[in-house]
């Protein structure tokens, strides 16, 4: 087994290679504005570091969000196109599950909530019984609306760090953004145990802004 995992649902542009036993190379750059530029060079670097080529990969793992759409689509279309070009399966995972799994490996125990920044003063979030077990569907909400339902629960992720008043036990020492290595390890575990994956389509959670720009696509030669 050789899994290539990538995730662009958080400010981290992250890629990892997993051989079925362990992560053999990983790249992680935190830059919320250059997912499109950074992802392919990162894939190339990770493969180079591991001394492998893309055609040795047996499956693609991709975080399908939730996350800001523009960046999220870069990772998903890259994964889908790799899958088609290489004729290998593409395994989708909820990106929040990767952060939860990474927190588990960093020693977090018990119940907790993962929240990431959804912009527009909202967070993407889901609740976990433990690092491997998500107990709610991922959702997008204003942090203030979560204060009561999640009261007393440990909270991790950039969304929790950003809104400390809305969450109770915010663990800033835990992963804020995604690690593709964690996502890859989680996928390897699920493949071994016959666990389920999501299709490689984005978890948008919001309807598109249905507004036409006043001057859509005006292209003026310079």
């Amino acid at each position: 087994m050789l899994l290539l995992a990538l995730d662009t649902a958080t400010p981290a542009v992250t890629v990892a290679l997993h051989d079925g036993d362990e992560v053999i190379a990983e790249s992680r750059q935190v830059d919320a504005r250059r997912h499109g530029e950074l992802l392919l060079p990162a894939v190339d670097r990770v493969l180079g570091e591991a001394g492998r080529t893309l055609d040795a990969v047996t499956g693609i793992v991709v975080g399908v969000g939730p996350g800001p759409y523009t960046g999220l689509r870069v990772g998903i279309v890259t994964a889908a196109t790799f899958g088609a070009a290489l004729s290998v399966p593409v395994h989708g995972l909820c990106s929040l599950d990767g952060i939860a799994y990474a927190a588990g490996r960093a020693g977090l125990e018990g119940e907790f909530v993962v929240a990431t920044d959804a912009r527009r003063k909202e967070v993407y979030w889901a609740r976990y019984a433990d690092a491997r077990t998500r107990v709610t569907e991922p959702a997008v909400d204003r942090p203030a609306d979560l204060t009561e339902p999640l009261a007393g629960l440990t909270a991790i992720g950039a969304g929790a760090v950003l809104y400390p008043d809305a969450f109770t036990d915010v663990r800033a020492d835990m992963p804020e953004h995604q690690y593709a290595g964690a996502l890859a390890s989680l996928a390897a575990e699920r493949l071994r145990t016959g666990g389920e994956f999501l299709p490689d389509t984005p978890l948008y959670l919001r309807r598109p802004d249905a507004k036409v720009p006043a001057n859509y696509k005006v292209v003026t030669p310079q």
Binding site: T201, V219, Q222
Partner: protein, 377 residues
């Protein structure tokens, strides 16, 4: 036409607006032109909604690539290169195509060419009428662009002579269609009504045609307003609006200015060919008037079939193939989508010393609606 195996076999991806286009060409020969359009999803909004377009591109990307390969009867591994529209266009939409093209080229171990959308609109005519004359004069008219371009070398030297200072020609069609309650997009339906109408019924203004106006620039905003005012005055007076005559007279004002300026540009620059591309090139009156005026002026007119005039992947593949045939530098794996890529940048070569894979280009992606950074939503 005989296929020459030494001509580059290139797959092109286009996602700058609402069409997901994947085309395959060998040199100047069209092998496949697969297009998935999200136009119906935008119709109820009266224009292209960027987020709706981006979502549709992602959904359509892999199926459209596979459809193009099947249509062309070629295997992915036989491709010599992958080309993609790097800009200009809707930022989020471009990004989907650029990411897909990079992944495809990388997985196949083939070079990647990020090319200019406008130069692609010109280059597509090579698939229809053979090698472009050098220089070529091009009039590009669509919902997004209205430009007169002089192209001494389509792979490296495209010069803007003039462009619209306000609305694109196709946008004016959309807006007039909206005032007439004819729906979106406006181009085809106005064309249809105009055939039943009198183009001389109403004398609408011809923008920027005064003796002191810029010779090659266009303006369609004043025309659009004049048409709207004329219609509203009729409605206010309780009179019926003669839709066919309004459509014909409006359309005549647009194509009169476009063809007059294009023919003038050819004459001024000593160019004996005119190429017309972009979605509005499908307009039957534009084709007819351009044909007559070019003939009168001794200019050879080249207009590709309508399906190659609207946005498609074949045009991108055509320019990519020309880039390969002329040995132009491939793009790096760090290629950016650039929503305002200048027309003078015919393609986006890898920065020197980047060995085609690590060069990074930094600039902000700005959202069309909020003007905030694109990645903020």
């Amino acid at each position: 036409m005989a296929l020459r195996a030494d001509e580059p076999l290139v797959l092109g991806i286009e996602t700058s607006c609402d069409e997901t286009g994947v085309g395959i060409v060998r040199g100047h020969t069209l092998l496949a032109d697969a297009v998935a359009s999200s136009v119906d999803e935008h119709a109820r909004f009266g224009g292209v909604v960027p987020e709706v377009a981006s979502r549709a591109h992602l959904e359509a990307m892999v199926p459209t690539i596979e459809r193009a390969l099947k249509e062309a009867g070629v295997r992915a591994r036989d491709l010599d290169g992958v080309a993609v529209t790097a800009g200009p266009g809707l930022a989020g939409a471009l990004l989907v195509g650029v990411a897909a093209a990079k992944a495809y080229a990388y997985a196949l171990g083939k070079p990647l060419y990020g090319v200019n959308h406008l130069a692609s609109h010109i280059c597509v005519d090579q698939l229809e009428h053979g090698a472009l004359p050098e220089p070529t004069m091009a009039l590009l008219v669509s919902g997004g662009h209205s430009a007169l371009l002089l192209a001494p070398d389509i792979t490296s030297d495209v010069r803007p002579l003039g462009s619209t200072i306000d609305d694109a020609a196709g946008e004016a069609f959309d807006k007039v269609a909206r005032v007439l309650h004819l729906g979106f997009p406006g181009g085809p339906v106005i064309d249809r009504y105009a055939r039943e109408g009198d183009p001389a019924a109403i004398r609408f203004p011809r923008g920027l045609t005064g003796s002191r106006d810029p010779v090659y620039d266009f303006s369609f905003s004043g025309l659009k307003t004049a048409v709207a005012r004329w219609i509203e005055a009729r409605r206010a007076a309780g009179e019926e609006v003669p839709v066919a005559d309004v459509a014909a007279s409006f359309q005549e004002a647009v194509v009169d200015v476009l063809t007059r300026k294009a023919v003038r540009a050819c004459a001024d620059n000593g160019v004996d060919h005119l190429m017309i591309g972009g979605g509005v090139a499908a307009n039957t009156r534009l084709r007819a008037l351009a044909a007559r005026r070019c003939e009168d002026a001794g200019i050879t007119l080249r207009v590709p079939r309508p399906k190659l005039c609207t946005d498609n992947g074949a045009m991108v593949a055509a320019l990519g193939a020309e880039m390969m045939a002329r040995g132009r530098t491939a793009s790096s794996w760090g290629l950016s989508a650039d929503s305002s890529l200048p027309v003078t940048e015919t393609h986006v070569p890898a920065p020197q010393g980047s060995h085609g894979s690590h060069g990074l280009h930094t600039h902000d992606h700005v959202h069309e609606l909020s003007k905030k950074n694109l990645y903020d939503s």
